[in-house]
């Protein structure tokens, strides 16, 4: 799963959001690292909707234009959870070894002179 997709799904954890709110929430969650352009967001939403990870939950008219809110589906939440677990496992692999490094560094066999 690519990082923007991960953050789009994560932005919907607290409930359905409309397009601009997803852009804002994504930037907030990623500490400003993922700034979605509108075209990129809707490409991602089309794909995630087709995959069944996201669904349309509300439609309203704001300033004469349709505004749609999208929410996470159970399969979407599952995919997000699986990705989070995978990243946590990958992170653990490094942090555990780093601790060993701080404690005295990796043991290395030395040959007698």
């Amino acid at each position: 799963m690519r990082e923007p997709t991960y953050f789009v799904l994560a932005s919907l954890l607290d409930g359905p959001l409309h397009g601009y709110a997803i852009i804002q929430r994504t930037a907030e969650l990623s500490g400003g690292r993922v700034r979605l352009a509108t075209g990129t967001l809707y490409t991602a939403l089309d794909r995630l909707t087709a995959e069944g990870h996201v669904e349309l939950v509300r439609e309203e008219i704001v300033n004469g234009r349709v505004r749609r809110s999208y929410g996470l589906t159970p399969p979407g939440a599952g995919a997000l959870r699986a990705e989070a677990a995978r990243m946590a496992e990958a992170a653990r692999l490094v942090t555990n070894r780093s601790r060993g490094l701080k404690a005295g560094g990796p043991t290395r066999k030395t040959s007698p002179a």
Binding site: A10, L12, L13, D14, G15, P16, H18, G19, Y20, I23, R35, A37, T38, G39, T40, L41, Y42, T43, D46, T49, E55, L56, V57, R58, E59, V62, N63, R65, V66, R67, R68, G71, L72, T73, P74, G76, A77, G78, L80, R81, A84
Partner: protein, 242 residues
């Protein structure tokens, strides 16, 4: 309508009409909300994402076909342009009439466009057939409709070659005395200009044939009742541990 809105609407035309019908209003709202106060142009990032997104939705078949159309338009347009300049029989004989005065970049662009207009028809035909084959029950009609413009494109390439070489062909079809004077406005190849326009019409026809989604597409309908939302969101909240 503000200048920003007008420009955003223009950029949204990168998407095909069937997509815009469902999405343009919503995307426009998001674009305007995401723009800063006083902004009168969409950001470069937004513009690029819209063009890329539009091409992705239109698909490979359309992009490849339009590349072919652009190549044909550039090739014939240039042939028309060079015949408006004075040139000699020697220029015509070596086939570079007018080129010597144009920058190298222009010459390279024309050579590439000509090569592309000859190389792209077959891939365009094949991807078009693959793209349209799934349509039922009118798929055969659509496939025939696709072959039509393709044949027309070939006819344009052939005719452009004949007319593009008109002064050079002159001796073969009646001797130099029957040819208009080289370098005079009389030999301006208006036929090439006509073919150039025909390429644009061909592009519009191809766009029209492909003006339906490759797969049935629709913004998914609202499946939930508003009252259900509180109990459904987030789904799997009880066991989600991140």
């Amino acid at each position: 309508m503000t200048p920003l809105e007008r420009r955003c609407r223009w950029l949204l035309r990168a998407y095909p009409a069937w997509y815009r019908r469902d999405r343009a209003g919503e995307m426009l709202g998001t674009l305007l909300e995401a723009s800063g106060p006083g902004q009168s142009w969409p950001s470069l990032r937004d513009a690029r994402a819209l063009v890329t997104g539009g091409l992705r939705v239109r698909g490979w078949t359309w992009s490849l076909s339009m590349l072919w159309v652009v190549a044909g338009t550039v090739g014939t347009g240039y042939t028309f342009y060079i015949t408006t300049k004075p040139y000699t029989w020697a220029d015509v004989g070596i086939g570079i009439e007018g080129w010597s005065t144009d920058p190298v970049a222009v010459q390279i662009a024309v050579v590439l466009a000509t090569a592309a207009s000859l190389a792209l028809p077959l891939p365009a035909l094949i991807v078009g057939f693959i793209r349209l084959r799934g349509w039922r029950p009118r798929s055969w009609l659509r496939i025939a409709a696709w072959a039509g413009p393709w044949i027309a494109g070939f006819a344009l390439i052939y005719q452009a070659t004949v007319w593009g070489n008109y002064p050079a062909n002159c001796p073969a079809i009646g001797g130099p005395e029957n040819c208009p004077a080289i370098g005079s406005p009389a030999v301006v190849s208006w036929g090439e200009l006509g073919i150039c326009a025909a390429w644009l019409v061909l592009g519009a026809v191809m766009t029209w044939i492909l003006a339906v989604p490759a797969h049935p597409w629709k913004v998914p309908g609202t499946s939930s009742r508003p009252g259900d939302e509180a109990s459904r969101w987030p789904p799997g909240a009880g066991d989600l541990q991140i």
